[in-house]
Every structure is written in structure tokens, then in C-alpha cells.
Amino acid sequence: MVAIGMVLTSMVLCSVMINSLSATEPDMHGWNEGEVSVLRSLWIGSLPPLPKDPSNAYADNPKARAFGQKLFFDPRFSGNLKVSCATCHRPDMSFTDDLPLAHGMGSTTRRSMPLLGVAYNSWFFWDGRKDSLWSQALGPLESNVEHGFTRTACAYLISEYYRSEYEEIFGKMPDITNAVASPATEDIIVLKTWVSMAPAKKEAVNRIYANMGKAIAAYVRTIVPGPSRFDRYVKALFNNDMTALQESLTSMEINGLRLFIGKAKCTNCHGGPLFTNSDFHNTGVPTPAKMSPDKGRADGIKKVLSDEFNCLGSYSDAGPRDCAELRFVDTKTEKYVGAFKTPTLRNVAERAPYMHAGQFATLKEVLEFYRQSKSHEINHGELTDEELSQLEAFLHTLSGPL
């Protein structure tokens, strides 16, 4: 009697379970053709090979990469011997840091940017004031509040500690005198020292400096994101692998994904395998208290056009037909006042705070800001509290190894 009762109960339980499983599965993982196409475009498998950088002849040179990696982690290239690229671009923090404003020798006015997949960008920094990875690497070295260093000091250090590495890649190093001089400084004495150098010496130092940037870029190019749980889900979808589908994302995360590519329209700017269109938008993020308003890309356009290390400059290896982004850059800068580059969302949950001056401490705050925004750049339907939580849950699925 008891046995029959047990069998009957277990049968009922089993059928209930089977019914509930089959009731949710098709709904949960049902995507129409258009949606599958969007998922494919976001999938890491759609990331094309690293684009060539015609301005950097050493971009894919393995020796340059090894040299650049050493330079990246070497704190001697700073005014206090404590600041290296890795100080603000920490490998354990998706190659950024956890501060609202980056801090080298002093405090800066912007957040460090993450370096994962950075080589896929056409413009560098929040305001796009550099048009190559190698010229970007040279910026912080001479910034007072970052490395607080000079190009002549860089050249001298390379001749002291890295002569053989340098010469193997770039050829014989000219004679370097240990002058502290730079054209890109607020220090009058440092500037005057530079101006007083012989033209040939200035040219030699600039050449070494540019090569240093190119080596660092050869290393930083290789920092690309690895597959995340989201990518595993998409792969499982293509393989019709139901088990893997269920193991990759929870129902809450899938709801968030649906919102991300649908009602919330995040893919307008956060599309493609790196979840960014790498373009410049003014989303109305507030200026922090006590800071002046930041003109963003409007100033960035002027700066990149006057940068001696830009694609059309004499230290670039590009031919005249190569520099399309610079040649066709939009000169109507008033359209870009307060516009900043859309960052990647890969590993976004691992790297608070958010926005160009770290204005938002949590993803919740970011999503809440987007919900209440009236800007046409961020235009989505009314999002409920539950939907915001679902979006947040989905964003957590974009974390992967580096």
C-alpha cells in the first residue's frame, strides 16, 4: 500500500517536473532570426583578427612586443620611480584601476580606461585625442600628474638599461645626453632646455620616444578579452546544445539580454563583439562637483589634429592613403562638446567605478541614470525596477579571462 503510494507520488512529481521543464525551455531560449543575428554580432567569435596599424611598422613584431611588455611594467620611467603603465592599467583589474580619477604622480581629471581589446579602436582616450595606440602610450609619460617624465629622460633610460633590446629592433641608438627636456611640458625650464637643443638631437630623441611608444603598443595590442558566459551561451545556441544553454545563463540573465538587444536598445552604442561602437556620445553624465565641465571630444579633435605623433606626422609609418580616420575627421567640433568615447562592456562588472570621471560607483547607478535620462542618445522605453535588475544581471555575464 505504502509502496504503491510512493510510486504514485513519485510519478506525479516526475510529471510535474517534466511539464515545468518543457514549459519554460522553448520560451526561455527561443530567439527569432533577427535576434540570432544580433547575438552572433555580439559573440566573441565574431571578433575579427587584430586590425593592422599602418602607422606602426613594429606592431606585430615579437621582439618589439617583448620589449614593450618590459617597458609597460617598468616604474623607472617616472618622476618618482614609482609609476609605470601598470600603475593605472593593472593586469588584475582588466588593465584599469578602481579609482574615479586616475592617479600617478598626482591626481588626473579622468578615469583610467580599460585596455582589453583597445587595439580595435580608431581613437584613444575618452576624448579621442590620439589616433594610434603608440601615440597614446606616449601621452601619460610626459603628463605631470601621470608619469611626470620627459622624452629625453626616457631616451636616456633606454640607452642605459635597454640598449641591446632597442637596437635589435630599431637599429643603432644615437648618442643621448642626460638632459631633462621636453616640448610637452608646463615646466618653463624643461621647455627651454628642449628648445635650446640642436635640431638633430631633438629629432633623435623624438625618434627614440616614438619607437618606445610603438614597442609598448605592440604589447598592449595583445590584450584581448577571452570568452565569457555570454559567449558560451551564444555558442551553445549555434550548436543546438540544450545542456550548455541551460548551464550558461540563468533566466534572469537571459531576460536582461533580451532587454539589452531589444527594449533598452543598448546595442545602439554597445554593439559588436566588444560591446562598443567606439564612437563619441554626450549622454549627459553630470560633471562631478568641484570639477570644470569637460569638453570631451570637441577638444580631442583639435588635439589630435595638432599632435606631432599623429598618423600623418613624420614619426608615423603610414603612407598618405592610410590615415582615413584622420583625413575625414569631423571638424564641426561643436557637435561633440561633452561627448566621450563609448567604452567596451566586456568585464564591466569587474571594474567599477564608471564613466569618464568615475561618476557612478555601481552598475545599478549607471542603469538608474540611463533610465531617467531624457537624452535622445539613450532612448528606451520605460524600464521597471525588475528590468533594471535583469539588465544588471546580464552585464555580469560579460566577464572573461584576459
Binding site: 564612437d279 569631423d330 561643436e334 562638446v337
Partner: protein
Amino acid sequence: MRAAIVVMFALLFPFTAFAHHTDPPTTGSHTKHYEHSLFKVTEKGLFSVEMVVKEKELKVGVNTLDVIIHDKNDKDVVGAEITVVPWMPEMGHGVFEKPVVRERGGGLYSGENIILIMEGHWELRMKIGKGTVEDTVTFDFPNVKVSEAPSQGEHKMTYSSAPADLDTSAVRESAKKQFKVSYVSEMMPIPVGRIISWKLIVETADGRPVNDADITMEGGMPEHGHGLPTQPEVTKGTAAGEYAVQGLKFSMPGWWTISFKIRAQTMDDSVTFNLLVQ
């Protein structure tokens, strides 16, 4: 008795004179010209300012406004020196670009290049000087927002959704049917976020190639209300009727329009292509 009356007038006259200066008339001597305008009299009552914002409301970004200046006798004020200082009182800052005020004649002045950099409470602090006199007035805008209407740039985009039967053909007749225009893209499908070139082929309606046309272009995304992210160039191509369009970039997926204004021989026409970039 007469002496008393004289004294009375003598006593009254200064008061009436002061009354005229401390009590600026608000109606009667200062006429509004436009229905939808903002109207204020300056602090000392020397001028009246009627302001018309070009796009009805001040917005974040580039704004233009017209002001009509009248004196206290309601006459046009010409040759005035006018400065406009946009200011955010709670934030304690203004703008980066100094607005330019141009005289148009008959008391009309245009304030151009008023670029408000963020949402919020703005004041437009005006100073009007004519000859030796000067006066000020402040117009208050408590809630300036990001534009809900067409934004700045050479091409005014309207916010509209893609129509159901969008014609995405790469071969189209121009608006006045004077030209047949087609494009061939260097890369198909159109990639997102990459600079590409197009070959543009321009023919007359009866199929003859059009050489030496003067072609300008504009474009953008109607649903998002923004223009092109780059500044493409149209130059003469190698073959008859062919032109090279370089520097085109489609920065995000969606509905894009690309328009060409074509002037050749005596013809002046335009054509628009629709694209659904994926």
C-alpha cells in the same frame, strides 16, 4: 496763492521726474512684435528686449536667437553694443564659446553660437549699450534640456522611425527626376564602424553620363537625430559620370540616409539613399 501753486509744482516736478525713471512702463510704450517671444524691460528701464529663440526652446547644444531692442520711447535701437553671457547660477560657470551678436538692422540683432553645454538652469545675461548709456537684463531658463527636436549640424535630422516600406535601392531617381544616380560600395554588406568608399555614378534621366558635376553630401540616422560621424569627400572619379565618395563611416547599425546635392550644366537636383545597416 500763486506762489503756493508755483511752490507746489516745484515740489511735485522732481517727484514725477523720478517716478518716470524708477517705474518703467510695462505696457504701452514697449510693443511686442511676435506672439511666441520672451519680453523683458531692462533694469533701469532704458530698453526693452524681445527675444525669439530660433528653435522655440533653448536646448543643450548650439542655439540661435533674435532680439529686438527698443528704447523707452519704443523706437528701434540701432548701433547698440550687445553682449550675451550664458550662465548657470547654481553651477557657477558659463560657456566656452563667446556668443556672437550681429546687428541685422531696424533694432533686430541675432545672437549666434550660443552653445549651452549641459542641461539645467541657465540665465542669459544681456548687456545693452548705446552711446553713453548702458543697461542690463537677465532672461531666465530654469529647465534647459537636451534637444527633443532636430539637433545642430549642417543637416537638420528629424526624429522619425523607419517607414514600413523603406526603399533601400542603390539606384534612385533624383527628386526632380533630372538624374539617375547609383552607388557601388567598396564593401558589402556595409560594415559598421569602418571608413569605406563608394563609387557614385550620375547619369541624366535618359542615361548619358554627367561629368563635371558639383556634388555635396550630407546624411545621418533619422531615428537618432544625428548626422554623419565623419566628413566624407566627393571627388571626380576616373570614368565618365563617376565620382569617388571617400571617408564614409556608418558608426552603428540601423537606418541611415545619405543625400547628394548635384549641380551640373543647368540642372540642380538632389537624391537620397536609404540604408539599413546591420
